[in-house]
Amino acid sequence: MPSLKDIKTQINSVGSTKKITSAMKMVAASKLRRSQEKAEAARPYSSRLEEMLASLASSASSGEGIIKLLTGTGNDQNYIVLPVSADRGLCGGFNSSINRETFKLVKSLKSDGKNVQIMPVGKKSRDFFNRVMKDQITESFVDLNISNTGYESALKVSNKLQELYFEGKFDKCILVFNKFKSAISQEVTQQQLIPLDISDSSKEENVDDSAAKAIYDYEPDEETILKDLLPKNVSIQIFKVLLESDAGEHGARMAAMDNATRNAGEMIDSLTLKYNRTRQAFITKELIEIISGAESI
């Protein structure tokens, strides 16, 4: 049976853990608010860019050069996968779900006979893939610190990606990231970044007024605009994903730390109960000893 002192030490250490987790929860909550605002502020740009692209894309045919970002290389042999994780842990299943999903994706692509490269974004996924699939990592990005550096760091990722694409290193690029649904829930999502996948929402809207959209004047001309717009779209999509993942990270950490704080509280309660019981047992034992001592005289 543990002594009273042992239990007391345990209570104290759980108590200080509780303090830490509840402080981390507060920090995450305030960071969450900020990064959520940023993610929302970025939304108008990307949605409008998508609209513009959707109306342009209908007129684009396959071609060489930058247009390949839209039409693809015509191959689908080489894949590159970008798992977007956080740089830091202690945020529940946030990072491990990304790693698991990416791992599954890579496995299934490989079993279809494709070549897969991995380009982890964030320390946690880099460390994971360094352990399990070291030979397939082409490049990794850590410490992007998106909430402070903003668009610049998204540009870094996107420039590298486009450089590799035009060298013909891969045909398709897939992002795996945590989509920010609400402060307490994130959803692991896969998004095809290159070639551009316009089959989602923007295209449906486009069907209704495609006749109206077709009569735009283009200045200087359609192709030049498309050439500017496509690389930008890649950067913006990455930027959006990084922001969402950042907001999701803080949300996940907040939830995880909230749980940890609650668990610590419960643990303290049960330890206190044990402490009191043990103390009572000692007192009773001592009483019995005194009484039986007195009786024997």
């Binding site: 502020a41 108008p44 513009m52 998204a154």
Partner: protein, 132 residues
């Protein structure tokens, strides 16, 4: 008088969103003014000034954009800019310093930055469109 809805967005932010009387946009091939009922145009932009006017053609705001795109239809004008500064927040000395630092460099990125910085100076100095 009729108004046109104008959005100025940068990747980080929605900077301006209101009903205005007229906008002058620095298109790649030259500045163009957008009035309510303008025909549909999609244009890429060069570094320059975006001027926003109220209903009675008084200048409301002047921005510097470093490039981007504009989409215009009869009811709405959207400018997607890469980076946006309000003209009166730009400090000339710091830009001149930037130009000095950049002028020696040979990389493409530096040259691009230099062009933008030079365009900023031009934008600061020019007084076109301030009164119409």
């Amino acid at each position: 008088m009729a108004t046109i809805s104008f959005d100025l967005v940068s990747p980080e932010n929605l900077i301006f969103n209101d009903e205005v009387g007229m906008i002058i946009v620095p298109g790649k091939d030259g500045d163009f003014g957008v009035l309510p009922g303008h025909s549909k145009v999609m244009s890429s932009l060069r570094p320059g000034r975006v001027m926003v006017y109220g209903e009675d053609k008084n200048l409301l705001k002047a921005f510097f954009v470093s490039g981007g795109f504009a989409e215009v239809n009869p009811e709405k004008c959207i400018v997607l800019a890469e980076s946006v500064d309000e003209i009166n927040t730009i400090e000339k000395p710091s830009i001149e310093k930037e130009i000095e630092e950049l002028s020696g460099q040979e990389t493409d990125a530096a040259k691009e930055q230099l062009a933008i910085a030079k365009a900023k100076i031009v934008a600061l100095d020019s007084s076109f469109y301030e009164k119409i």
